[in-house]
Structures are given as structure tokens and as C-alpha cells.
């Protein structure tokens, strides 16, 4: 309840009303959110495909991670900023949406998966950096990332369809 009244207050602020009622700003924020996906998830997918052994097999894993993750991070900040603005424009509606809730859980899981990967199997990357088919734990991390992020995208899109409200 506490959080709901906070969202109700948030929704009544001038900034929230401005975004919600704007004819140009809202579509621009939404477009930024969708287009940044091509950069963010595109770069993440290239690393994941390398991890599962399907793509860029001749390139060392550490090189792909080192070169592409900064670009992915840039894409992620665009997604986070535009995503926060979209949420800010209608927090009550979003919080009541089942797809939005699942999406937030899935994003947390992608973070957990990435952390686990970096602090376990990736620490020993020198021993499998050049292997076209990385060890099972790295493959699992890559596959999980692909599945979880796909889930995030799907929930994000379906959020527009309030089937269960």
C-alpha cells in the first residue's frame, strides 16, 4: 500500500503528466527505448552466441567481452533512462501490469546470471579463451542470458496489451 501511494503521488507530478500527455516526447522516449535494444541486446547476443559456441567462434571470448560489453553498457544506459521515463509517465498502470512485474524479475535474474558468470567461470577464461566450444558452465550462462533477455523483450512488448487487468 505504501508503495502504491508513492506511485500515485509520482503519477501526479508535473513531469509525469507532461510525458503522458505530450504528443512528441512520449513517442520519442518509446522509440529510443526500442532502438537502443538493437545496440544493447545486439551486443549482448553476440557475446552469448560466442559463449554457447554458435557465433564468432574464431575470436577470443575475452576480446569480445572487452570490446563489446562497453558498447552494450552504453546501450543499457539508454534503455534504463528511457525505461525509467516511460515508467515515470504511468507508474500505477505499470506496477499493476503482470508483464511489467515479470519483466522486472527477469531483469534481476539476468543481472544475477551475469554476476555469477563473471565471478566464477569467466575468472578462468584464459584456459578456454580460444576454445570454439566453451565449457558447459559458460555455455549455460550464455544460453540463460539469451533466454532471460528474450523474456524481458517479450514481457516489455506484451505490457502494452493489458490482457489481465
Amino acid at each position: 500500500m505504501e508503495i502504491l501511494s508513492f506511485f500515485q503521488w509520482l503519477e501526479s507530478t508535473r513531469g509525469s503528466v507532461f510525458i503522458r500527455e505530450s504528443t512528441l516526447f512520449y513517442p520519442m522516449v518509446e522509440t529510443t527505448h526500442v532502438l537502443a535494444l538493437a545496440l544493447f541486446l545486439g551486443m549482448i547476443a553476440m557475446l552469448d552466441l560466442r559463449l554457447v559456441g554458435l557465433g564468432l567462434r574464431g575470436i577470443p571470448v575475452s576480446e569480445i567481452a572487452g570490446r563489446l560489453l562497453p558498447l552494450a553498457l552504453f546501450g543499457f544506459s539508454l534503455m534504463a533512462i528511457s525505461g525509467l521515463l516511460l515508467f515515470y509517465s504511468g507508474p500505477v498502470k505499470a506496477a499493476n501490469n503482470i508483464f511489467f512485474r515479470v519483466k522486472m524479475v527477469l531483469i534481476a535474474l539476468t543481472g544475477l546470471n551475469a554476476l555469477l558468470f563473471h565471478f566464477t567461470i569467466y575468472r578462468r577464461v584464459v584456459s578456454w579463451d580460444h576454445s570454439p566450444s566453451p565449457p558447459a558452465r559458460a555455455k549455460l550462462a550464455g544460453a540463460l542470458s539469451l533466454v532471460l533477455w528474450s523474456g524481458v523483450v517479450i514481457c516489455g512488448r506484451l505490457q502494452a496489451y493489458n490482457w489481465f487487468n
Partner: protein, 162 residues
């Protein structure tokens, strides 16, 4: 639309096709197709940007661009095929809306140019021996590719608004 010809009956025919009608009448088909379209967009973005950024001097800089482009080609083709397939289904389900949508016309025009450019100029530049093409031309090619595909995605999103 091209002057002198009335294309509206053609778009009405598209909208009346069995596929178009099925997608339009289903509660969940259109959203599911949209999801696949978006996932393929992410993959296309990765396959295009990996090479364009390389040509601009970012990302996988130490890789020969020809090899990178070759490795990306199946993903590029797969993502593009999926985008076109799902795109056709969405178009058929709302062809008349698309007929009156300026962003749709922009998107299709840019898409035709982008595909042509990608599989002719960009492919040749990416596959060229290092040093054979002036660095400025290489960067220009990457920039044009980026701008064209950005335009396709941007105007695509705006079909929903206008």
C-alpha cells in the same frame, strides 16, 4: 504513393487475404508476431553494428573486417528474413492503415535502399583487402549503413503513432 495510379484497391486486397484476416481477428497473434519482430531486430542490430562499428574503428577493432562480416552474414540474413516474414504478416493484418501511414512509406523506401546498400556497397567495402579502400570511404560506408538502418527502425516504430 506513385501518382497516376490508385493503389488503394491493392491494399484492400492485402487486408482481405486469409493470412491478414487471421492475424487481425486473433487476440494474441499480432502481439506474438510483434515479439518475434523485436527479437529479430535485436539480432539484426548486433549483426549490423558489430561490422559497422568495426569499420568506424570501435568494437572488435583487431579483427579483419572481411572475416567479421563473413561471420555475421548468416545472422544478418536470418534476422532480416525473420523481420521481413513477421513484417509481412503484420502488414497484411492492417494494410489499409499502412496505406495511409506516412512512416510506413518512409520505412519501406528506406528498407529497399538499406538492403540494396548492405548487399552491394557495404559488402564490397567490408570484404576489401585492408588498405585498398580509403579510410574515409570505409567510415562513410559504415555511417551510411548505420543511418539507413536507423531510419528503417525509427520510422517502423512510428507506424504505430501515425
Amino acid at each position: 504513393m506513385l501518382s497516376g495510379t490508385n493503389w488503394q484497391p491493392l491494399f484492400q486486397w492485402f487486408e482481405a487475404t486469409t493470412l491478414g484476416t487471421q492475424v487481425r481477428q486473433s487476440l494474441w497473434l499480432f502481439p506474438v508476431i510483434e515479439c518475434v519482430h523485436l527479437l529479430a531486430l535485436a539480432l539484426l542490430g548486433g549483426a549490423l553494428l558489430a561490422v559497422d562499428l568495426r569499420l568506424l574503428g570501435f568494437g572488435l577493432r583487431s579483427q579483419p573486417s572481411a572475416r567479421l562480416a563473413r561471420q555475421m552474414e548468416p545472422w544478418l540474413a536470418g534476422a532480416l528474413g525473420t523481420l521481413i516474414g513477421t513484417g509481412i504478416l503484420m502488414f497484411l493484418s492492417e494494410a489499409i492503415k499502412c496505406y495511409f501511414s506516412p512512416p510506413f512509406l518512409y520505412k519501406m523506401s528506406l528498407l529497399a535502399i538499406a538492403i540494396l546498400f548492405t548487399f552491394t556497397v557495404r559488402r564490397r567495402v567490408a570484404n576489401a583487402e585492408p588498405g585498398r579502400i580509403a579510410p574515409g570511404m570505409v567510415r562513410l560506408t559504415a555511417f551510411v549503413s548505420f543511418a539507413l538502418w536507423f531510419g528503417v527502425a525509427f520510422s517502423g516504430r512510428w507506424i504505430a503513432f501515425y
